[in-house]
């Protein structure tokens, strides 16, 4: 009876993990069989539908309090599954175009997604650790999935070594927190929180581990190399789903485990947020490789998200959740169009200088890329604007005027590098006639759907925002009463 309740509470994760196991078995018997892709899409879609329904359902705990369901967890699961689903939809054509469509890619994506679902539902430090590791180990392999390619091997090894190192910090932090409070449950740690050195050191090390996973400055060094070396659609997955999962977990840890009165974490996060926004945007300006540019832009976006966390109010948290969703939509789209250009023969289409005149050759792709880049800049009526506005407002209302000002200035600086590919695409003549291959129907419609979503949630954001605020405040109240 209990079992059924537990499994039902974590049903999206169970489905995705089971699909991961089934696909790897299929792959063992029939190498790279076509049904693997179908099963992957089906299970991710089923999980997505279930977790979206879960958002409107009750909030509670399962597996002896190891995980929570409903509310923030359900929204985090939805974002992760949304990102995974759309990345899988664009992955197939890209990977078969570059001749590396392995069945293992889908199995690893599914298992990583299951890890992320555990991470966003975590209510216990051990669950967080298992989630992060399940996700990261699959991503290390995915980064180097193209055998014999040097840049991929470099990405994979760098990611693995630095990731393993940061995991050490994370785990040590958890050990110290356990030593300081005698519990691994987030709420019990909050009750036992004190300002003695053991607790502070544990929390600080835990935060270092998280800052690495969300690639906040100064723990961002791996990001550009890994994003550049990984196959582009997998990069999209890393940049969106895994980052969202890590951010939701960080949000849960900050809001549930480390009460503001014990330690002034807002100060730490404020400094890291400023560094991340400034560094990410400044370095992105000088990038010529579009994948590196998007990597630094993802660092900058981590900075914006940290502003919302620094605010530390329910308003700030719901703004962060909204922004994660917005970021997932537009970033998958941007990486998707880059993946489309990149698989063309003749020129290195990760170099922005080679984007000259592309906008007129394939008008649809040009328009789509413009949509996603405008949304990343944060120009109305795209969803990026709403997300940025909500975070900005939350920072102002929480009294972080300086942070809000830096956020505005940093996004102003970002206009330069986001618009640069568009300038090349539309205002320069192509210097060489390179024939562009037409994209497949699934690939194209996936990107069109994403573009439509950037527009839809940019205009009709009210319902989603109300939903996020409502269940966050409900969570917040139970959390305060629980203390």
């Amino acid at each position: 009876m209990d079992y059924l309740h537990d499994i039902n509470a974590f049903l999206p994760g169970v489905i995705v993990a089971l699909a991961g196991l089934v696909t790897i078995t299929i792959d063992a018997y029939k190498n790279d069989h076509g049904s693997i892709y179908g099963l992957t899409v089906f299970s991710l879609l089923a999980g997505l539908i279930l977790s979206v329904m879960d958002m409107f359902g009750p909030v509670g705990e399962a597996f002896t309090g190891m995980i929570t369901y409903g509310g923030v967890s359900a929204f985090g699961s939805s974002v992760v599954l949304f990102g995974a689903l759309f990345c899988v939809l664009i992955s197939r054509e890209y990977l078969s175009a570059i001749d590396h469509e392995y069945g293992e890619v889908y199995s690893l994506l599914l298992i990583a997604t299951a890890g992320m679902l555990g991470l966003v539902s975590a209510n216990n430090l051990i669950m967080i650790f298992i989630g992060i590791e399940t996700m990261s180990i699959c991503l290390y392999v995915l980064a180097g999935i193209i055998k014999g390619q040097k840049i991929g091997a470099e990405a994979s090894l760098k990611y693995f070594l630095l990731g393993a190192f940061s995991t050490g910090f994370l785990l040590y932090g958890m050990a110290l927190l356990y030593g300081a409070t005698g519990s691994l449950y987030l709420t019990e740690i909050a009750e036992g929180a004190s300002s003695d050195l053991l607790f502070i050191a544990g929390a600080a090390l835990l935060l270092v581990g998280f800052f690495f996973k969300v690639s906040a400055v100064p723990f961002h060094m791996w990001t550009p190399d890994v994003y550049q070396g990984t196959p582009t659609t997998i990069t999209a997955y890393m940049a969106t789903a895994s980052k969202s999962a890590a951010f939701v977990a960080l949000l849960i840890v900050l809001s549930k485990m480390i009460p503001a009165e014990t330690a002034n974490w807002a100060g730490v996060i404020e400094v890291i947020a400023i560094l991340t926004m400034v560094m990410g945007n400044l370095i992105a300006i000088v990038q010529d490789n579009i994948k590196r540019m998007l990597a630094y832009s993802s660092i900058a976006h981590a900075g914006y998200l940290l502003v919302g966390l620094a605010a530390g109010t329910p308003e700030g948290y719901s703004a962060v959740l909204f922004y994660l969703f917005a970021y997932t939509i537009m970033n998958i789209g941007a990486f998707g169009v880059v993946a489309y250009y990149e698989r063309q023969q003749g020129l290195d289409f990760t170099d922005i200088n080679n984007y000259v005149g592309l906008g007129f050759k394939k008008p649809l792709m040009g328009v789509l890329l413009s949509f996603f880049l405008f949304s990343l800049v944060g120009i109305p009526p795209f969803v990026g604007f709403v997300g940025k506005y909500l975070i900005f407002a939350a920072a102002i209302n929480a009294g972080y005027i300086a942070l809000a000002v830096i956020l505005a200035l940093a996004s102003a600086a970002s206009v330069y590098y986001y618009l640069r590919p568009m300038v090349y695409m539309y205002f320069k003549d192509p210097h060489k006639d390179v024939p562009l291959v037409r994209s497949g129907i699934v690939f194209r419609s996936t990107l069109v759907v994403l573009a439509a979503l950037t527009l839809y949630f940019g205009i009709a954001f009210g319902d989603l925002h109300n939903l996020l605020s409502s269940f966050y405040t409900a969570d917040w109240v139970t959390h305060l009463v629980g203390q």
Binding site: D2, Y3, L21, I24, T25, D27, A28, Y29
Partner: protein, 125 residues
């Protein structure tokens, strides 16, 4: 307070005596044929001095990885088996699920030819 440590002291004493006894016995009773190889440091049967960039089969790593997987399985299964009566029968299901997951890994390992030592037929050509 110190009498609590008496068993440890006895154990340490027995260990020292036993070590000395065994070494003396093997020296007295065993045949004594010294040669140069016996002075080499023991490195799991590998030549301790040589080129650092030595090439050897990648199967070595695969077997090591597979070994670690089942090693970790044992680490989980033993404590579970010992405390089974405390945990209750519900944990049997969890353990079966856990072992089935590992079994999927084993199937994958075998079907992909990772344990195929004939490199011409395996996955490394």
């Amino acid at each position: 307070m110190f009498e609590n440590y008496l068993p440890i002291a006895i154990l340490a004493g027995v260990a020292v005596v036993l070590a000395i006894l065994l070494m003396t016995l093997s020296r007295v009773l065993g045949p004594y044929r010294p040669n140069k190889t016996k002075l080499d440091p023991y490195e799991s049967g590998m030549d301790p001095v040589g080129d650092a960039a030595n090439r050897y089969s990648i199967s070595f790593y695969l077997v090591a990885i597979a070994f670690i997987v089942f090693d970790v399985e044992v680490v989980f299964v033993y404590p579970w088996a010992v405390s089974y009566l405390d945990f209750g029968p519900g944990t049997l299901v969890s353990m079966i699920i856990f072992i089935l997951e590992l079994y999927v890994g084993l199937i994958y390992l075998i079907k992909k030819g990772a344990l195929d030592w004939d490199l011409k037929k395996g996955m490394f050509n």
